[in-house]
Each structure stands twice: as structure tokens, then as C-alpha cells.
């Protein structure tokens, strides 16, 4: 297993290199640059800006510099400065040497922030929202799917699957404003917008206070965001459970005289979880990063919008940072899935 994890981490580096190269190439290939303005900037100004951000270097050098700044650990004896060009995600003092790693560069758009600032301030919120949404998706989706499967072709099944279809077909962009309107504006039960946690975060990503105040803000967006996923999980759970209960070993369990309850809980559920676990990895990555619309509707200061606005702004470091983040996230999420796999299914062993 350890060997497998090491291999996956090395694989991650390959992913980063490939993804960064493709992104870098595409980003510079599309027309329009970070300094395109409605009111065109004078050539001299653009030159100044390009010099500042080293955009006047040859592309290969820009790429190599970028990879050097992001991937290669730096060691220095001087303390980190406040410069935006000198912001590393990892700063550790070992003896009197500073170990510094992952400098994603300054944002072009937010002139006093770096990509790392965005990771530090906004990513935790997206992670919190994504986690809550995933919990919602699982808490709603799995019981619904199990219920529908066990009561196949009964009103329970139709109800569950009806809810699931609704969840898939009503997107956040429709559901969100309805939630805001009903629970935020009309009933005033919950705040229409905002997020109940702000920096600094516990361990860098957890809300420092996990109280009612946090959940008051989190409930609506988590449900709005998680409902679509819960529908997917419900349908998948139903399908796999229905398939599992037709397996030979379920028949064997019945032939042994096992009680129905035991058959479902002990024999069927764990097996039917395996495909569900498979989609949880990419789903979590999508829930954390693909939250642009949810953030917009619920006014959540998360990371999702940077995936969209960085591209319209041609904010190169943010584009690179967000896309690499997504790639890393996806690989790590899938690694976790693999580990859970190995736990759920003894036939799977990695080495």
C-alpha cells in the first residue's frame, strides 16, 4: 500500500507537469491578454506590466520559471519578505534555514494578493462547502437509494427516484434563488447569503467555530449544491443495490437462513458501496471546485469563481493555480477512493 501511495504521488508530479504544460500552452494561445482593457492601455504601460510579471520572457522560460517556483523547494537563510513575488505556500524554518515551497505567483487582477492568498483565504471555504454538500449528498442520496432498491417498484421507489430525477434536473441556478427567496427573504429563517466562517481557519481549512452560526449559513448552499449529487448517488445506490441483491452470494445467504435485515446490512450494503465510493472522488473534487454558480447565488467567498473569472481576466497565475489545484485534488481524491476501495473490497490489493 505504501509503495502504491508513493507511486501515485510520483504520478501526481507527472500529472502536474502535463496539466501545467497544456494549460500554459492553451492559456497563452487564446487571444486576449491580462492587460486587455476596454480603454486600451498605452504600449508603454503594457510593456511595464509585462516586465513586472516577466511576460516579456520567452514562453519556455516563463514555463520553466513557473515550474521552478511551484515544484522545486527553495532554501534560504533570509526570512520571507512581504513581496507578492516571494509568497510561498509552505514556509518552514529548519534550524536557521528557511524551507520554502510552492510559489504560485501574484494575481494580476487582485493587485495586493497572490494565488497562495487565494488558496489560503478562499479554498478552505470551498472545501467546507464541498464537504458539507458531499455529506448532504450522501445523507440524502444513500438512504433514498437503499429505500428505493428495497422497495423496488413500490410507491417508495417511485417517490425516491422522483426526488432523484428532480435533484438532477433542477440545477443550482434554479434551486438556489428559490431557496434564497423562501427561506432567506420570505420566512427569514436563514441568512440569504454569506458564509459563517472566515480566516483564520483551524488547521488551515476548518471553520474556527463550528457552531449554529456556521451551519445557519451553510445549510442552504450545501443542500442546493449537494442535491444534484445526492440524486446521482441515490440512483447509483439503487442500481448497485438492486444488482447486488441479485448476486449469487445473496442467494447463498438466504439459503443459509439469514434474516433479511442481516442480508442487507452485512452482505449487500458493503458490496453495493463500492461503485458509490468510486464516484465520490471526482464528485468531491467537482463539489469543491465547481461551485461558481452556488457561490454567486449565495454570496460565498469561495474558490469556485476563480475558475471562471481567472480565465475571463486572463489572470495567468490564477488560471494555472486553480487548474493545477483541481488536477491535484482529483488525483488525491481518487487516491483516497482507492484506499477506501482496498478497505471495502479485500480482493483489491495495491503494490
Amino acid at each position: 500500500m505504501g509503495r502504491y501511495i508513493i507511486r501515485r504521488i510520483l504520478y501526481l508530479i507527472v500529472v502536474i507537469l502535463v496539466v501545467s504544460m497544456i494549460t500554459f500552452g492553451l492559456m497563452h494561445a487564446i487571444p486576449g491578454g491580462p492587460f486587455s482593457r476596454e480603454k486600451a492601455l498605452p504600449e508603454e504601460t503594457i510593456k511595464m506590466l509585462e516586465e513586472r510579471y516577466h511576460l516579456d520572457d520567452p514562453l519556455w522560460k516563463q514555463y520553466v520559471d513557473y515550474i521552478y517556483n511551484v515544484l522545486i523547494p527553495h532554501f534560504s537563510t533570509t526570512a520571507p519578505t512581504n513581496s507578492l513575488q516571494d509568497d510561498f505556500l509552505v514556509n518552514a524554518k529548519i534550524g536557521n534555514v528557511w524551507f520554502r515551497w510552492m510559489n504560485f505567483g501574484p494575481s494580476f487582477k487582485s493587485r495586493s494578493r497572490t494565488v497562495n492568498d487565494i488558496f489560503r483565504d478562499n479554498l478552505p471555504i470551498s472545501a467546507q462547502l464541498g464537504t458539507m454538500a458531499l455529506i448532504v449528498a450522501l445523507v440524502i442520496g444513500m438512504p433514498l437509494g437503499i429505500l428505493a432498491a428495497l422497495k423496488q417498484n413500490t410507491p417508495w421507489d417511485y417517490l425516491g427516484m422522483g426526488v432523484a430525477i428532480l435533484g438532477v434536473s433542477v440545477p443550482v441556478i434554479v434551486l438556489g434563488p428559490i431557496f434564497v427567496w423562501i427561506f432567506g427573504v420570505e420566512l427569514k429563517w436563514l441568512p440569504p447569503t454569506g458564509w459563517g466562517a472566515s480566516p483564520p481557519y483551524l488547521l488551515g481549512f476548518l471553520p474556527s467555530e463550528l457552531g449554529w452560526e456556521f451551519f445557519r449559513y451553510a445549510i442552504m448552499p450545501s443542500i442546493a449544491l449537494g442535491l444534484g449529487s445526492s440524486a446521482i448517488i441515490a440512483r447509483l445506490t439503487r442500481a448497485t443495490l438492486l444488482q447486488t441483491v441479485r448476486e449469487d452470494y445473496i442467494r447463498t445467504a438466504r439459503a443459509k437462513g439469514l434474516q433479511e435485515r442481516l442480508i442487507i446490512t452485512r452482505h449487500a450494503l458493503k458490496n453495493s458501496l463500492i461503485p458509490v465510493v468510486t464516484i465520490i472522488g471526482p464528485m468531491f473534487a467537482a463539489l469543491v471546485t465547481g461551485t461558481f454558480v452556488t457561490e454567486l447565488i449565495f454570496g460565498i467567498p469561495g474558490m469556485g469563481k476563480y475558475f471562471v473569472t481567472s480565465i475571463t481576466n486572463r489572470d495567468y497565475p490564477v488560471i494555472m493555480g486553480t487548474i493545477l489545484l483541481y488536477a491535484v485534488f482529483l488525483v488525491i481524491a481518487n487516491l483516497f477512493v482507492d484506499i477506501i476501495y482496498a478497505y471495502l473490497d479485500p480482493r483489491i490489493r495495491y503494490d
Binding site: R3, I6, R7, L10, D351
Partner: protein, 330 residues
Amino acid sequence: MTNDNVLLRVEDLVKHFPINQGIIIQRQVGAVHAVDGISFDIHRSETLGLVGESGCGKSTTGRTILQLYRPTSGHVYFDEIDLVNLKGNDLRKMRRRMQMIFQDPYASLNPRMTVGEIIGEPLVVHTISHGKAIERRVAELLELVGLNPAFANRYPHEFSGGQRQRIGVARALALQPDLIVCDEPISALDVSIQAQVVNLLEDLQKQFGLTYLFIAHDLSMVRHISNRVAVMYLGIIVELAEQNELYDNPYHPYTQALLSAVPIPDPSVEDRRRRIILEGDVPSPVNPPSGCRFRTRCKFAKEICSVEKPEWREIQPDHFVACHFAGELG
């Protein structure tokens, strides 16, 4: 010794599947010794039966002969041409003369192609015929294997297992091959259908002078269809003889055990039979036992069996066996 009558000669054929491991650079840490040095030949218009239990390497042998797997070492002479050294077009030309029928008639037919397309495909690939000529040939082949030529436009799922196997036979016959490797062609079929397919194969052999390598685990059926039979165990052939000779005078203890294990559909016979029950399972082909492969399950095994590889010897005219004590055992 050259024999004009030999169509296929296999010499010291070895096929190992490497087992790789490593974090970035994969290095080979072992190999599955699927086929570990076998030699035999097949005469024209003959059926050679190749029997053995699952995992013994009999299917790999068939595929390696057809160069679907490239052998690790050894030679496969087809009409005195060594297939192992052939590449590209030359190999393609030779492949036309060798076809295969697979075990699973469900999995081996592309579900999105019509039966006509499946049977006609080899003709198109090898640019044998075009357009109408293909249609005519497909109809002819369907008729030959006992299917209605009008079925050419149907899809595999519309057929039963036996019919699908007939389609597989028709596809194999399309290029008028000399050799057909039948890889467990009947084991997925119902009892009453098995006989249909076997009879068809026999009829076709008579009609076209086909040569078969018939791979199966069903010893009764192998005995029925084969002229000579080779018994495989863990990557090697342990015994090879003319069918009646092998069944009447098995020399190798494994052959003896195998034959005794086959039930005979006759209670009066069954009552009188003495079974040789082998202990345990077949060892792993990754680490095959030293010396004689069978020694771990052989009740006659002696010191020498673990030390020395038994010689492949002709114990009777045209009866070969690989056992140190063949002929000395009760």
C-alpha cells in the same frame, strides 16, 4: 527427419508472461511460466487433442502457435516456415491459413456487427473479395455450418449459444484455412448442442481436409474427436500418443489420474471403477516445482523427481511420455 505430411511442427515452444513491479521503472520480478518448452507436430488432416486442466497452458499454446502471443522462445513451423520470425505482411499471409474458434461464443462476436459482417470481415481484411462476392460467400458459409443464409443481417444476440458457435466456425472457415485451432469450442454449450457442433467439425474436416488442434478439458470429447492426444500439465506436455493407445495404456501418473477422474455415464461401469484421487491443487505457474512438474501431487514421486527433469521419451512407437518411472509403475 522431415515429414511431408507434417503441417505444423512446434519445437521447444516457451511463453512466459512477465510480472513487473516497480515504482516508476518497472522491472521484471518473475514470470508466469504458461508454456514452458513443448514440442509436437500435427499432420495434415489430423486432429490433435490437447487436454489439461484449467491454467495448464493449453489455451496459451494455441494462441502462441497462431502468433497471437509472440513466443518467448522456440519455433513454430507451419509448412516448414518458421512463424516466429515472420512479421507484418508475411505473417498476415500465413495467418490466413490458420484460424481459431473460441470457447465463449458470447464474448468472441462483436455485438454491434451483423453476422454477415462478422463472417465477411476476414474477407475484407485480407482483401480477398468485394461487394456482392462477399455476400455470396457469406451465404455459402452460413449454409455450410447449418444456418439459414437469410440470417446474415441479424446480430449475434439473436442466436443461441450453439448457433453462435456455428457463426464462429463459419468465420474461421471464410478464408479456407488449413489449420483451425479450436480452443474449448464446446465447453460453454449444452450437452445436446455439444454433439451438434462436434459433428459439424467432423463433417467439415472430412469435406475440406482440415487440420485441427482441438483444445479441451473434456477428455471424453477429446478422445472422440482426436487422432492423437497430448496431455498438458503446468506448462509442459507430459504424455502424447494415438488416442486409443493413450486411453488404454496411460503411462504418466497424471494421465492415469485424469482418466480415472472422468465419470462414465453408465452406473454399472461406475460401480466397478477405482478412482485415483489427486491430492491438493495445481501449483502456481509462477514458481513451478523443480524437476518433474507433477511430483508435488504424485504418489510415486521419489528423490530424483525433484532433482531431474524427466526426459521426453518414446516409450512405445509413437507414444511419448515425460516420467522417470513410466512403465515401471503398477
